[in-house]
């Protein structure tokens, strides 16, 4: 058994889950599960939100270990689910390593939904949140348009790999600008606050925030604190963007 190749593949599986927004304990479990299903003596993994450390001891007592730095990409729960299913399948019946590599590569290269479909979903998000916050149909239609623009911004900046904080500053500014545009310069009966809240939902790190608390309650303090910090910084950057835009426009409008 080629243990160096095995540890690379197990780490790749963990990396896919971590990059796609899976929980820390799931990454650790998956890596050790994959290693154990190939009959190694000991397998250990330590995962933080930005890196994976794996070590295995084979039957002769030889230690192989691997460290991998992980860059956050975008949330993709489908990949988490697929890798999870694959690792369970390995427990029952270990695949030969080339086949495992092929399966992992296939999952890793899986394409997301088409861009028009994602835009449609972003539109639906803005639309439905307006109603949840008690807005009218006009508000909902405005939030729908803003939702599309926000998603376009997110997709566009993801292509050129901009810093996450900067993306959110731009997103906040975009939402504030468009919301003011529609409420002040259009002769419509609208509620500015509701439109802002509903369109900001696409950017808000609510998920990251709740996940951070969940990690802390589960005992993963390190990742909990760093995810909480990330959520906090995203929130602050949305606020900076929206605040700056509002202050600037406020000067023009008033």
């Amino acid at each position: 058994m080629d243990h160096q190749r095995l540890i690379k593949l197990a780490t790749l599986a963990g990396q896919i889950i971590l990059e796609s927004g899976g929980e820390i304990y799931r990454v650790e479990d998956t890596i050790t599960m994959i290693l154990r299903s190939y009959q190694v003596k000991e397998a250990e993994s330590f995962v933080t939100p930005t890196g994976i450390m794996v070590s295995l001891t084979d039957a002769e007592g030889q230690i192989v270990s691997l460290i991998r730095r992980v860059q956050k990409s975008n949330i993709d729960l489908e990949k988490v689910s697929l890798v999870n299913a694959l690792s369970r399948q390995l427990m029952a019946e270990p695949l030969p390593l080339p086949e495992l590599e092929e399966a992992l590569m296939e999952i890793s290269d899986k394409a997301p939904y088409s861009i028009p479909f994602q835009l449609l979903m972003a539109a639906m998000c803005g639309f439905s949140f307006t109603f949840l916050f008690g807005g009218s149909i006009t508000d909902a239609l405005i939030a729908l348009v803003i939702g599309i623009f926000v998603r376009l911004l997110q997709l566009g900046t993801r292509e050129i790999k901009l810093n996450g904080i900067f993306i959110n500053i731009m997103g906040g500014a975009l939402v504030a600008f468009l919301a003011t545009f529609f409420t002040h310069w259009m002769p419509l009966e609208t509620n500015f606050d509701i439109i802002m809240v509903a369109s900001i939902m696409l950017l808000v790190p609510g998920i990251a925030f709740t996940n951070a608390l969940r990690d802390i309650l589960m005992g993963d303090y390190l990742s909990g604190v760093s995810k909480g910090m990330e959520a906090f910084l995203i929130a602050v950057s949305i606020a900076i963007g929206a605040g700056t835009a509002l202050a600037m426009i406020g000067g023009v409008v008033a």
Binding site: G22, R26, L77, K79, T210, A235
Partner: protein, 154 residues
């Protein structure tokens, strides 16, 4: 109420697709969102404290999520993340920002702590269901195991 539930479903569904879930899972998981919203609103009728409503909302959608995840053999996250979406305290975050921009730091602190409490209530709700279900399955497995053993002895 019916309209709100449909809207909560749509909000969850849109995020389920943005998080790239496959069609079937997204369709099923979004029900968690409207269930969570239903319980959140119902609890709001009985309790003064909004945090309790958030807690009951979280308990309902994570219970649904845990059951469905076991049934469909997918990770629980695929069900809980979309279910959480309608309840996420994004508006609190926005108001915190607005207050601090207006220079009203007392108001900002108040909104900030309210938001923090709401997220805490959601997280505790999710975690409680997670733990209880785990205990339940542990006992169930042990019970089945014991039954098998006594059966063998006979």
């Amino acid at each position: 109420m019916m309209i709100e539930m449909i809207m909560a479903y749509m909000a969850s569904l849109s995020f389920a697709y943005i998080f790239n879930l496959n069609r079937k899972t997204a369709f099923l998981s979004a029900f968690g969102g409207s269930l969570g919203w239903l319980f959140y609103r119902l609890a709001g009728n009985y309790f003064q404290d909004p945090n309790l409503s958030y807690f009951f909302g979280a308990v309902s959608f994570s219970y649904y999520g845990e059951l469905m995840a076991r049934k469909m053999r997918t990770p629980v996250t695929s069900y809980i993340t979309p279910g959480l979406i309608p309840l996420v305290p994004g508006s609190g975050l926005y108001r915190t920002m607005l207050q601090s921009l207006a220079g009203n730091y007392t108001g900002a602190l108040q909104e900030g702590i309210t938001t923090l409490m709401a997220s805490g209530a959601l997280a505790i709700g999710i975690l409680m269901v997670f733990t209880l279900i785990r205990i339940y399955y542990l006992f169930k497995r042990r019970l089945v195991h014991e039954e098998n053993e006594t059966g063998l002895r006979k």
